[in-house]
Symmetry: C2
Subunit: 226 residues, 2 copies
DNA sequence: TGTACATCAGTGAACGCGCGTTCACTGATGTAC
DNA sequence: TGTACATCAGTGAACGCGCGTTCACTGATGTAC
């Protein structure tokens, strides 16, 4: 009885990559993370399944368990990467005026969400993530920390000291505003806000976001040295 | 051969409600909407399925199609109701000072999201809703309109006239801020913002939201009559 | 350099599950006369 | 008041699907001596 070798994941893998078929994948862990990220890009969070990730990595459905235990384990790893990508979008020249930096970060936050919506969706879906994934927690804190450091500059709070109540409130306001804006943009609520219906979401965003950021963090009035 | 009548939906329905079993439900449409809303309350959006809604309404899985065509049809109906509930949370005494009204509405928006997270999640999941559901669109516009009318008052733009650029920007800022805050609260990002870990989400919200709202819409400086 | 053995990583098949939709049907209700 | 008939609303069974997880297994790799 003929048995097609093309059905065997190792063979499929070999065919795809051009390398020799091997029982062991070699770097399945990375391949699964990569595959998951690809699914997020193409289909969003709802498109993800453990089996689909395994399929794309050229491996049987049982394999992922060896590396991640469960779907939440794999997704948490990807979410961690996503937070790192967000952090890159929040990187900003520390020399500039704080209000301007804040605006730049706001823009970076929204750009990240709009350019990588699948990742962005995932990052805040705590029902899909492991609550105790240390790396994920840390990566999230790091991203938030970048906003915080700009808020510190705005309020003149030194790095070691605790945030003042006003600064605390400002940080939360900043995060809320850009997070909310990003969500509304992804939910398609932006275009329906104004008459210019046909506009690209990119163009719409370019027109609508900067004034909003300027309203929240205007340049300070002319320096008053007494 | 014995056939348990308890398996028959009509009988199950009768048992539950105390009324006589009937082939026709009588108000299935409402019952399904009700059931869906109940699922949202208990399990969130992810807990919803057409079959589960049918089950709760005491009806076979095929029945909902007669009234809603598909899952999206039913969910859109529920989302419409949800927007109406949101509108109620945005109702505010039109006599008060605009900044205060804005804060009240902001508080109402967040309270709605936090008290009824399942509904709130649904309302912005356009992948689950019918794009062409007229009532849903209208209900969403109505809710947004309530924010808009306060922004008009803030900026002194009369009801008939188009929003100024500044007012437009302010409206979007308002919506973004409260929407983002609500999302972050539901994603559990609030508690992890400050040291007071054990705090109830309700208490945390009561402490953290008002200053944020005050920062965004402060009372105007003392009236300067020239 | 060779060999025995332990460990690891992925296989393959099956588990039981719930899902949305379809369709010929039938029981109940409403209407016309 | 009665009867024929059309319309409606829900049934019941089946469709094909994809899912996450389990588990005894086996092939490959690495290590000790």
């Amino acid at each position: 009885m003929y048995r097609s070798t093309a059905k065997r994941p190792a063979a499929a893998r070999a065919k795809k990559s051009g390398a020799a078929a091997s029982y062991h994948h070699g770097s399945l862990r990375e391949a699964l993370i990569q595959a998951t990220d690809e699914i997020l890009r193409e289909q969003g969070v709802e498109g993800f399944s453990l089996r689909e990730a395994a399929r794309r990595a050229g491996v049987t459905p049982g394999a992922p368990a060896h590396h991640f235990g469960s779907a939440a384990g794999l997704l948490s790893e990807v979410a961690m990467m996503a937070f790192e990508s967000l952090s890159e979008h929040l990187a900003v020249d520390e020399a500039g005026p704080p209000a301007q930096r804040m605006r730049q970060q706001g823009h970076g936050y929204v750009r990240f969400a709009v350019d990588q919506p699948g990742r962005f969706q995932l990052m805040f879906r705590k029902d899909l993530l492991s609550a105790d994934h240390a790396g994920l927690q840390a990566a999230g804190d790091r991203a938030l920390g970048q906003l915080e450091s700009t808020v510190r500059a705005l309020h003149g709070v030194a790095p070691g000291q605790p945030l003042s109540a006003a600064a605390q409130s400002d940080l939360l306001a900043a995060w809320s505003a850009v997070h909310g804006f990003a969500h509304l943009a992804l939910a398609g609520k932006l275009s329906h806000m104004h008459k210019d219906k046909g506009a690209t979401s990119a163009r719409l965003l370019a027109e609508v976001l900067p004034p909003l950021l300027m309203r929240l963090w205007p340049d300070p009035p002319q320096a008053q040295k007494p």
